[in-house]
């Protein structure tokens, strides 16, 4: 049953991807990309990777698509006919594809419980992590504790993206705000609905943030969802009103603080005599210490991701408005 669903979803995925090559309307390509993301998230769910599906749906289908649309608004929708030949790329792709298929020949059988991948490192996570860390969600345990350094790196990657986007686009200065522009002025229905839902979405983000230890979710997802709430606000009410709620400078500070919060947990555990990011030393009882550590670093991740995603969106949005005014 699960396999059948997988196959159907995979087929749909392949069709979507192939169609993307041929469409010249970039808007359609981006729409299809949104679908592609949704579909792959569905496959992830089917393969038991709920946390990943969560992230893919919110990041891939949500943030990426919105950013791509923002870019399209500035660069135009049509792809021009390409003049250079497509034989060489096709050849490279075929070689790579052949290599991949060759590589799959000796791949361990799909889903077999005795594959090396399930026998070497993973059993410890599955069997011991509930005891060593005390959380039912193993993904969170591994993410935040066993491989906490990766997650720190990942938070820094997000931060680096913020630096990149700021360096490239900057955020419009406040004093240029004199041009009145406030989203959908005429859409009263949207206004009402948005006003009603945004608090609920933020509430849900907080739920995801703190429930991530027990169910799917965690800092990244929560940060993205909270950012999505503000993006909705910005889309509906316009950029200048959103700036009044959360200013861009404040967000940049927040992004830095998130990273620092994460790192400070690491330094604190060093100070307590453990290794970097060794949460067991944070409290007398190692399990309680792990718990504290994970909550704080997830919070740090959440803050950074929220601030960065929203800042990036602001940067794109202010570009779009500037070009609209001209």
């Amino acid at each position: 049953m699960g396999d059948l669903i997988d196959l159907v979803l995979l087929a749909m995925l392949a069709i979507t991807a192939l169609q993307m090559i041929f469409l010249k309307d970039l808007f359609a390509v981006v729409m299809l990309f949104g679908i592609y993301s949704f579909l792959s998230a569905l496959i992830f769910i089917n393969l038991d990777a709920v946390d990943v599906a969560f992230t893919e749906a919110s990041v891939g289908a949500g943030i990426s698509t919105v950013l791509m649309l923002g870019t399209l608004a500035l660069t135009g929708r049509k792809e021009k006919k390409s003049s250079h030949s497509s034989i060489l790329p096709l050849l490279v792709v075929c070689i790579t594809g052949a290599a991949l298929i060759y590589g799959t020949l000796d791949m361990p059988p799909f889903g077999h419980p005795n594959n090396p991948i399930h026998e070497h490192v993973a059993p410890r996570y599955i069997e011991e992590s509930p005891k060593e860390i005390g959380l039912p969600n193993m993904v969170t345990s591994v993410l935040a504790s066993y491989r906490g350094f990766d997650t720190l790196g990942e938070t820094v990657v997000v931060f680096a993206a913020l630096i990149g986007v700021l360096a490239l686009l900057g955020v419009r200065r406040q004093e240029e705000n004199d041009v009145p522009e406030s989203g959908f002025k005429a859409h009263h229905v949207l206004h009402v609905v948005a006003r009603f839902f945004i608090p609920l979405i933020i509430l849900f983000a907080l739920y995801v943030q703190f429930h991530g230890d027990f169910g799917p979710g965690g800092g990244f997802q929560a940060g993205v969802i909270a950012a999505a709430a503000f993006i909705l606000y910005t889309l509906v009410f316009g950029l200048s009103r959103a700036f009044a709620v959360v200013g861009p400078k404040f967000l940049q500070a927040l992004a830095s603080i998130g990273v620092l919060l994460y790192a400070s947990v690491g330094f604190f555990s060093m100070y307590k005599g453990g290794q970097f990011l060794d949460y067991s030393k944070l409290a007398t009882d190692p399990i309680v210490g792990q718990h504290y550590g994970i909550i704080i670093i997830e919070l740090g991740v959440g803050i950074t991701v929220f601030a960065v995603m929203l800042s990036i969106f602001y940067a794109f949005g202010s570009q779009a408005e500037r070009s609209n005014i001209q």
């Binding site: 729409m31 569905l42 769910i45 289908a61 959908f184 169910g215 889309l235 609209n324």
Partner: protein, 88 residues
């Protein structure tokens, strides 16, 4: 009950495929958006029913995220049309 879930899941899958087909080969841009939107709502339902099918109904959070993202995507698309002429 499992049979019903299975049947319903497959049926939703079929509907999703139809919506996808619509989104791929749409006569106007709006049809495409409509297809995408429909695809999104059906996906939410698919996850909800699928969660029961797999016996892990605590994954409804993901369905909520889908609904949310779908809506935001919709608003973003419409906002996008304020900048560019939608008619080909």
């Amino acid at each position: 009950m499992t049979e019903v879930y299975t049947a319903v899941t497959i049926a939703i899958l079929v509907v999703m495929a139809m919506a996808l087909a619509r989104a791929i080969s749409a006569p106007t841009v709006y049809d495409r958006i409509l297809g995408v939107n429909m695809f999104g709502t059906k996906t939410v339902l698919f996850i909800a029913v699928g969660g029961y099918l797999m016996g892990r109904p605590d994954f409804l959070d993901i369905a909520i995220v889908y609904a949310l993202i779908n809506f935001i995507g919709m608003v973003a698309v419409l906002r996008f049309f304020e900048y560019t002429a939608p008619i080909d």
